[in-house]
């Protein structure tokens, strides 16, 4: 119990009591640490080593690969680069669908010092009410990280952008975003052909894994049909992010491949000419090259401005379009089946010839025939007298067709019509094509539960009754007459290879006969309106009744202008013209237009004016028709 080694500190202290207190007590006995204590400590160190090393082995070696993958996922992200969508051009290279650069304003919250003031500024720049801007800010704020741009305004005119750019420096966090937007400079002229693009919906996303939220895809028309060619392939950035999602670096992993530029066979100028020719009428025009199936024009009127849809159409605009009684959303060329009227006689004539009817065989037309207690009239009161196949076509004699059709029967008519492509879509590259309808015994039984009657065969023979045809089907058939019987798929794309879908089951002489009859019809028959001295022309008109023939006081048919719009006849003309080895088929259909030769004919003539150049002399348009139709009688 002695003070062994007082250190400097204790030496300095003089106080005796303190010295005693500070003295070091030394145990007298030899110290032996407790044996179990020694074991305990060693065991604990052993456990420490064993547990930690086992766990480290498990985490780093056994499951290391999986954790390495998770670490990789933590930091590497892929970002898409949008590929420019291919442009669509007309046959001469004029742009029909373009990618316009639009400017938007976005806000990076993190960089923005005073958000309310900045929002007010943005509202002023864009000319949008402040509460609208604030609302969109509050709505979208949480979807975007603080350091990511939050899109506030989508489409700012370029002149405003210049001003904003110059003032932007005093507003940190505001960015001008350049985006690409589809635009259709021709608007209505091509709306039904091009369709439009719009933001992808959930169903499309589910179907196509290469799409992502916010992508634009074709929804209608060629934009939809040619989607795979136009879309291109997205590029990819590979980027490394930190725990907050902030991008550290970015490398281009895959260059975006822009979509293919597609040139159409359509001609803007012809399309415009057709549009102007239709004027206020609701109707449509198809111009087709009979040898290739290429369409030179596909006009349907009224139409809509497809630019409305690219940034999401407003409810108001949509209601206006949808509730419009003239159905601007309807592509009449392919989606509207109409009774073809006398144009149908082309098909019937082909059938008769194929069935062995001699062109020389004549029939007497008294103006009407009786079937039971029903009277079936010819359009010409008093009748055509004696007619053979050719004169029946040229003058559109109904009675000839009633009688000959009865001889063939509906089954043969149906089979032949279907073989000529009627009753089924032509396969044009546009969505929602209608099939039309070729009635049959079986169809009637299924549909109405009643057997076919002979009178219906009469009606079908002159393109009336339940028979329905789309204008494009008619154009395809007339083309087949000219090209030797090939039923071609109508093509809209310039580099498309002609595609024969079927063949008209008729001998070449038959087709020649019908073509020749059309030539005569244009020269001296009901389709004289299209004739021109500088070209070889052919045609067939049609006036399709919408309601059963109505007779006004006396025995006179009502004039078109006296009828309700929805009860007026549809005016048809199916024509062809050849000049300088170029042949075109022009089919015009004017909905509730009235007479085929008086309404549809002049429109077709205008198309030829455009195709072949203006006529040097007008072929006696004012002259009364040689058949001297009586007032109210409409040749068709």
């Amino acid at each position: 119990m002695t003070d062994a080694k007082p250190n400097a500190l204790t030496a300095a202290i003089q106080n005796k009591r303190l010295r005693a207190w500070l003295s070091i007590q030394v145990e007298s006995e030899r110290y032996q640490p407790p044996r179990y204590g020694i074991v305990l400590l060693q065991v604990l160190v052993g456990i420490l080593f064993f547990v930690l090393v086992t766990r480290l082995w498990y985490l780093q070696v056994h499951s290391g690969g999986e954790f390495a993958r998770q670490a990789q996922e933590n930091r590497l992200r892929l970002e898409r680069i949008d590929a420019p969508r291919g442009r669509i051009l007309d046959m001469k290279g004029k742009v029909l669908a373009d990618n316009r650069t639009t400017y938007g304003l976005s806000l990076i919250r993190e960089d923005c010092a005073d958000i309310p003031a900045t929002l007010a500024r943005i509202a002023e720049w864009a000319g949008v009410p402040l509460n609208q801007v604030t609302e969109s800010y509050n709505q979208n704020r949480l979807r975007v990280k603080p350091f990511e741009p939050l899109l506030m305004i989508t489409d700012i005119p370029f002149d405003k952008v210049a001003r904003i750019e110059s003032e932007r420096n005093s507003w940190p966090g505001v960015e001008v975003k350049v985006r690409s937007k589809r635009s259709y400079p021709e608007k209505e002229f091509f709306a039904h052909v091009l369709g439009y693009v719009a933001e992808v919906n959930d169903r499309e996303l589910a179907r196509d894994p290469s799409l992502a939220m916010g992508d634009m895809v074709g929804k209608l028309g060629l934009e939809m049909e040619l989607e795979s060619r136009l879309r291109g392939q997205k590029g990819q950035y590979s980027l490394e992010v930190d725990a907050h999602g902030r991008t550290l670096w970015k490398t281009l992993k895959k260059e975006p491949q822009s979509g293919e530029e597609v040139r159409l066979s359509l001609d803007i100028a012809l399309q415009r000419a057709g549009w102007n020719a239709l004027g206020e009428e609701a109707g449509c025009i198809v111009v087709m090259e009979p040898d290739s199936g290429k369409l030179r024009a596909l006009i349907t009127s009224p139409a809509y401005d497809n630019n409305l849809f690219t940034s999401g159409i407003s409810q108001k605009d949509w209601d206006l379009l949808r509730n419009n009684k003239r159905y601007p959303l309807q592509n009449r060329v392919i989606q509207s089946p109409y009774p073809p009227g006398s144009v149908w006689k082309l098909i019937m004539a082909s059938l008769f010839l194929e069935r062995g009817v001699s062109p020389r065989e004549s029939v007497y037309c008294p103006g009407e025939i009786k079937l039971g207690n029903q009277i079936f009239r010819c359009w010409k009161r008093g009748g055509h007298g004696s007619v053979n196949l050719e004169s029946a076509l040229v003058n559109s004699c109904d009675v000839y067709f009633y009688l000959m059709a009865e001889r063939q029967g509906i089954d043969r008519i149906e089979r032949f019509a279907k073989a000529c492509g009627f009753g089924s879509p032509t396969g044009i590259d546009l969505p929602h094509e209608a099939s039309g309808l070729v009635p049959s015994r079986e169809w009637k039984w299924r549909r109405l539960g009643r057997p076919w009657v002979r009178g219906e065969t009469y009606n079908v023979s002159i393109g009336q009754g339940t028979l329905l045809v789309t204008p494009i089907q008619m154009a395809v058939f007339v083309s087949a007459l000219l090209n030797g019987g090939d039923i071609l798929k109508p093509q809209l794309v310039d580099d498309a290879v002609p595609e024969t879908k079927a063949r008209v089951p008729a001998k070449p002489e038959t087709l020649k006969f019908v073509v020749n009859a059309m030539r005569k019809t244009a020269a001296q028959g009901t389709a004289r309106v299209v004739s021109r001295p500088d070209a070889d022309m052919g045609g067939k008109t049609g006036t399709a009744q919408v309601v059963k023939l109505k007779l006004a006081a006396g025995d006179r048919r009502l004039r078109t202008s006296e009828m309700e719009y929805s009860q007026r006849d549809h005016a048809w003309i199916a024509t062809w013209g050849t000049k300088n080895d170029k042949t075109y088929v022009v089919v015009v259909m004017v909905e509730h237009g009235g007479g085929g030769s008086s309404v549809a004919g002049p429109i077709a003539a205008k198309m030829y004016d455009h195709l072949f150049g203006a006529r040097r002399e007008t072929p006696k348009p004012a002259e009364p028709e040689p058949a001297a139709p009586q007032p109210g009688d409409r040749p068709d």
């Binding site: 080694k5 110290y31 420490l48 080593f49 547990v51 090393v53 690969g65 670490a71 933590n74 991008t247």
Partner: protein, 368 residues
């Protein structure tokens, strides 16, 4: 001072510590760097740690200069002083992250709970060194009281980690010292009864949440389970050889939270892999074993028990911290000695090491 003392310095122990400390500083350099778009930003944690290390070595040298047996005399005044400091904390303490643990001295902040750890160590060693026999009720309860009084003050800060550490160190010392058989049995039986009491009374909601997310980190992968998941990903993705110094993506890209303090070893594991971790754990074990042998070789009971206390001080921290980072234990705020960043902790660690070295070099003093 006796020249022989220098000869008896436990150079092996010192070497282990210095290696650990330098590994820690290197790891901190990596952990505090943040990769930006181009290049790195390095926070100054490793520099501070270096300064604290120098201070710590000063403290260590100071703790070696005097005969450790004088600490026995200082035990009571030191204990009382630490209680005063602890009482000051709620009155004038600094609030950081919702907990009041710091006293500001103007130029620096100290954590009185760190001082209390040392004080409890000394006083417990003094009390336990009284007799040779296994502890009876009286001594057992008095040692327990020495632990519980500061614990009660610390837990209100709140600082569950330090409280837990204090009790665990005491438990280790008592177990080493030996208890009468029936006391040990009663303790073993009553512990499971106290545990639920702790759960309902002693713990804050966030602490309960930590235990729940430890049991199932998937409960809240973005919230409280985030630490555990990201730490496991960091360690695991190191695989066998590691990603290399400053190549750890989890830490450099800030996925790993608390990467310079409590989760520093996750950074180490990510960058040095299983091999590096194996070396680190081995180093820690060697370090503990050489403290252990100091305790065994000590010439008197006080020195021996004091070193055992220090052994447990390091042992529990190493065990709990690494287990927590490896997902073997719930997240508690206990740093890893010499590896995690922390000023007062580094100072205290080196000072305690100084005491161990002190005991070690005086082991032959009274042999003759």
């Amino acid at each position: 001072m006796d020249k022989r003392l220098l000869y008896y310095i436990n150079w092996g122990l010192l070497a282990y510590v210095l290696i650990l400390y330098l590994l820690g500083v290197g790891n901190l350099y990596s952990a505090s760097s943040t990769r930006l778009g181009s290049g790195f930003a390095v926070a100054d944690f490793y520099q501070k740690q270096l300064i604290w290390g120098v201070c710590g070595i000063g403290g260590m040298l100071l703790a070696m200069t005097f005969d450790y047996r004088q600490l026995r005399n200082l035990a009571w005044p030191f204990f009382l002083a630490s209680l005063v400091l602890l009482c000051l904390v709620p009155l004038v303490g600094k609030k950081v992250y919702g907990a009041t643990r710091w006293l500001s001295l103007g130029f620096m902040s100290i954590q009185p709970s760190e001082v209390a750890k040392l004080a409890v160590l000394l006083l417990a060693a003094r009390l336990l060194a009284k007799e040779q026999r296994p502890l009876g009720w009286k001594d057992f309860l008095s040692v327990l009281a020495v632990g519980l009084v500061p614990s009660a003050l610390i837990i209100t800060q709140p600082d569950l980690g330090t409280t837990l550490m204090l009790m665990l160190i005491l438990a280790g010392m008592i177990l080493f010292r030996g208890l009468r058989g029936h006391i040990l049995k009663i303790c073993l039986v009553s512990l499971p009864c106290i545990a639920p009491l702790m759960w309902f009374v002693g713990m804050h909601d966030y602490q309960r949440q930590r235990i729940l997310t430890f049991l199932d980190p998937g409960i809240d992968p973005r919230g409280s389970g985030y630490h555990i998941l990201q730490s496991r990903i960091a360690i695991g993705s190191g695989q066998l050889w590691g990603k290399g110094f400053k190549e750890g993506t989890q830490s450099q890209l800030r996925f790993l939270p608390e990467r310079h303090s409590d989760f520093a070893v996750a950074v180490f594991g990510e960058e040095w892999g299983f091999v590096g971790c194996l070396c680190l754990v081995t180093l820690f074990c060697l370090f503990l074993l050489s403290i252990f042998s100091t305790a065994v070789q000590a010439k008197d009971r006080f020195g021996s028990i004091l070193v055992v206390g220090i052994f447990f001080y390091f042992f529990w921290q190493i065990f709990i911290n690494i287990s927590m980072v490896l997902g073997l234990m719930p997240v508690v705020g206990i740093p890893l000695p010499f590896i995690s960043y922390g000023g007062s902790a580094t100072l205290l660690n080196f000072t305690l090491l100084g005491i161990v070295l002190n005991v070690s070099m005086r082991r032959f003093m009274f042999k003759s």
